[in-house]
């Protein structure tokens, strides 16, 4: 366990942080799982109380808290509305670690292990996986029902619907045709971008080049979020150290940011200091690193973007990644940029900040709840009669691709950087 947390009120023990919840209940309607189920166990207040009772040793059957803690999306919406900003997501993770619930599912657990211990092996697994999906093998496998048998209903659905797996990974593509090198920024290659959405990374790099000139691609390992959420803290710390060292070795100029186009990774990189509260020297290095990290949306200066109609036709809406809105407070930046580029075509999505149900591995562990949240997200997209949804995190992209395909195929989802790239004047 982390034992100590960085909260809005300063550094606190996990117990103090949990006890800061006064049970006022103001969080309840912000919590997608409470709204969906109406169950106190599935509310932030309930989860905070359970973690507190676990720490106090007042639960006879700690396992009974499993479902409450495993069903948390970790979206952080509760913390935003909480008067004291109680960090429920961090507390839930502490609770899971307390119960040694390493992962709600073996797939993310295995992935997180491999990402630390043998990234090249993991990447070749993914290459083969992508190929299987492209060849339709996964669809065939799905038809046999074996995935369902393995408890992988969600994966089965995903396999049946994701027929657009990339033919090569971002790093391979960049190795084949490297972009111009400079030092105006460092690009952090997120695993999701690299392995599943390389075209997002290519777009981000083109836009960054347009807005800020040439930069550098950091040869970074995984940010460690997968380990932090589903694996071991030691693994997360090891990855954080490697990232910090790698960054320090790059010696970028002081005003060059580390840019990340997956909001989940960006939020986690910004939270590195919390991993090192007991190691003063590393804490300072982590703080220095975190202060340099920018979510891709934060790099866009609306004044510097050319006005026009923006790419595509019809209404454009923004779906906020939880880790952008609640994890980093990034809300106005993408809106200002999209409005600058597309004017009135940009509309506000009702409940734009509600989680889509992707939430990392949530879709594996709680497929039904995940699907309920997805449907209500798609319903609000349809209400806005949107033709384009912009997202900024890998798990949102995966979830929304799937949801739109089934429920509202008139609309497409792309990453903010892809749409900005399409909207900018043609460049060579």
């Amino acid at each position: 366990m982390l034992d100590r947390l960085l909260t809005d009120l300063g550094e606190r023990s996990g117990y103090d942080a949990a006890s800061q919840c006064s049970r006022c209940g103001y969080c309840e309607q912000a919590c997608p799982t409470y709204v969906a189920t109406g169950r106190e166990t599935h509310s932030p207040r309930g989860r905070n109380q359970l973690v507190r009772l676990l720490i106090e040793g007042k639960i006879e059957d700690p396992g009974s808290a499993f479902e409450a803690l495993s069903s948390c999306l970790l979206c952080g919406a509760c913390t935003t509305v909480c008067p004291a900003h109680v960090p429920t997501a961090d507390l839930v993770l502490e609770g899971r670690r307390f119960l040694r619930l390493d992962s709600p599912h073996w797939i993310p657990r295995l992935a997180s292990k491999l990402l630390v211990e043998n990234p090249p092996l993991f990447r070749s697994f993914v290459r083969w996986g992508n190929r299987m999906i492209r060849w339709g093998v996964a669809g065939l496998v799905a038809k046999t029902g074996i995935l369902n048998f393995l408890g992988l209903g969600a994966l089965e659905q995903a396999a049946a619907q994701l027929d657009t797996a990339p033919d090569s990974l971002l790093r391979d593509r960049l190795a084949a045709s490297p972009p111009p090198r400079g030092d105006a920024w460092g690009y952090f290659t997120a695993c999701g971008t690299d392995l599943l959405f390389p075209e997002v990374g290519e777009a981000s790099l083109r836009v960054l080049h347009f807005t800020r000139g040439a930069g550098k691609i950091l040869e970074n390992p995984c940010c460690g979020l997968l380990s932090f959420n589903y694996g071991s803290l030691d693994d997360a710390r090891a990855l954080a150290r490697r990232n910090i060292e790698r960054f320090e070795a790059e010696t970028l100029p002081e005003d060059s940011p580390v840019v990340v186009d997956c909001s989940s990774c960006a939020a986690f990189l910004k939270s590195y200091p919390q991993l090192f509260l007991g190691e003063p020297e590393w804490r300072i290095r982590a703080e220095r690193y975190a202060s340099r990290v920018l979510d891709f949306a934060q790099t866009l200066d609306p004044e510097a973007l050319p006005g026009g109609a923006g790419a595509g036709n019809g209404v454009v809406v923004i779906h906020d990644a939880c880790r952008a809105r609640h994890g980093q407070g990034v809300v106005s930046e993408p809106r200002a940029a999209v409005r600058a580029l597309a004017g009135d075509r940009c509309r506000e999505l009702e409940k734009a900040g509600d989680c889509c149900g992707g939430a990392g591995a949530f879709a594996f562990a709680h497929p039904e709840l995940s699907d309920e949240l997805l449907r209500s997200k798609i319903a609000s997209i349809a209400d806005a009669q949107a033709r384009t949804v912009l997202a900024s995190s890998t798990s949102c992209l995966l979830q929304l691709v799937r949801g739109l395909k089934v429920y509202y195929p008139d609309c497409r989802v792309v990453h903010l950087s892809q749409w900005v790239d399409e909207s900018l004047p043609k460049r060579t």
Partner: protein
Amino acid sequence: MIEFHTLRERLRGELYTGEAELLTYAYDAALDRSRPDAVVVARSAEDVRRTVAWCAERKVPFVARGAGTNLSGGCVPLRGGVVVSLAKLDKIVSIDTEKREAVVEPGVVNLHLQNALAPLGFFYAPDPASFKVCTLGGNIGENAGGPRCLKYGTTTHHILGLDVVLPDGSLERFSLEDRGPQLASLITGAEGTLGIVTRARVKILPLPESITTILASFDSIDAAMGCVSDMIAAGVVPRVLEAMDRMTIDSIEAYLPCGLPSAEAVLLIEVEGSKRQIERELEKVSKLCEARGSGDLRLATDPAKREKLWEGRRSAYAALARLAPNVLVEDGVVPRDKLPEAARRIKEIAKRHSIEPALLFHAGDGNLHPNVIFDERDAEWTRRVKAGGFEILKMCVELGGSISGEHGIGIDKRRAMAWLFSEETLALFRRIKRAFDPRDLANPDKLFPLEGEPPPEGLIRPAPPAPSDAQNAFVERVREKAARGEALTVIGSGTKCPKNLRGRGEVLSTKVLDRIVALDRGNFIVTVESGVAVRALKAELEAEGFFVPIPLTLGTVGGLLATCPWLPLREAVLAMKLLLPTGEVVEVGSKVVKSVAGYDVAKLLLGSWGTLAIILEVTLKLLAARPDIPNEFPIPPKPTPGPVFARLQNAFDPHRLLNGWILEDSDA
């Protein structure tokens, strides 16, 4: 161990018995905890009915729960049993803008109703601080208030009808339009001790044309409160009239600097209406503020700028909730003109208990909220805060106020009920509870001191004015009849009785009770005996510049209330002194403009035609300007005998002595 599978298989909704579930339904937003044995998440009114019927059969206690934001322990299952969650009964069934009403299920979140009404140009008036999460069912149970209830009244003023599952599992529909006593008024604010509401018909109101917000600062609490009294006396009825003291202001500014003036007290005033009305009121308000030395007056009409003025007030709780893990949000009421004294005495009490309350008032109706931070893990600190809070309630009673303006009694204040009400009154409340819930299963051990629980020290209620000789003689006469077990007919001046009334037993007229008992000019409240003629009362008050919002009819005040030909007259009724057919005298309600303590027997009796109790005195709210009230009415129908009515009779008139002719004469 209770076996729940026979219940589970009867439900559409879910039933949980896991430890995590039981632990998280053990609390609300107050401090007490007690585990239920099971939790039912109801998915239909029928689920609620089946659950209650199942519980009734097996003598298992049950407690209804909405969002669990209760501040007095109201939804904590003290004796275990089943928590019935209404959170998923969350449909807005219909909205009728023509009839100005909406039908909702109890789990609808207050804000969700507001959001559905706003595009139609309407709103629902009660606005408790937790409106973004709390449910309408919970609001009904607690008779919740909020800043806007200065102008619009607490929840009970907005309830037109309720579907209620009674503790025996029967489903009843109560409407204000029903002939006979107002059962919907009894259920509202009963904190789930008489049944569970499964559907409500609520009043909706058109949005005001325009609203202006004013922030005014003052050199002292006295000056600010003086200004509040001046406004009410000048006939200004603001939509909102909030006050904060320096401690609150400072804590807000420390958390979220939003430019609140550095002052001893700040008033946040909102006036609404047409542009012209607002201009007129603004002129009055600013003159009155200046007269009390407020130099700094900030105005805003634009919604964004209004929000800016509200920012500080809205952050008051958050600012405190960050300073310590817990905040006691105490809730008491004093007569409006006693607020400065109350503020002083709160300071003294705080000093004695070494606590630091920050004061927030709904100043317009004398409702005060001292907010005290603490850490519940520190037993000694918690004890001091609780003791201080309790003493503040005692002070409210001493000043002639009430122990709750809008949060309810629950567990926290049940002992303090013995300060507010006499043993006889509490006994009546208990008889009502027993009449509806003989097995004591519906939210047991709430609202009243437990049997055998020692009353808090000292009888501190201010003594009421001594009754007149005529009243004494009247009471004596009824007692004699009661002692002999003889039937009795009580009328006012007889304007609504048949010409050749042959009552059962002796006919007594209340016309001898013809005194105006007390006119509280500062607080706009009058207490009158029930035999006073309506015309005489209105004339006498109007000569002094006061207007009582009841219709100008023939006959006595008591007769008007007992027959209730015009429903909105209920909004003027604050308290009653009653003579029960058993000879006991009880006082119900509170002589302040806002109180939610105890069963609302005063409103229950409207339309009861003297079949339950004899009204001796009534306390009414006054206005400074003439209200627009119709004066011609048909004589309303008399009560219909029936099973629910019989339960009420059991509580009030077990020997069926009073006004039997009404029921015999009833044309049902």
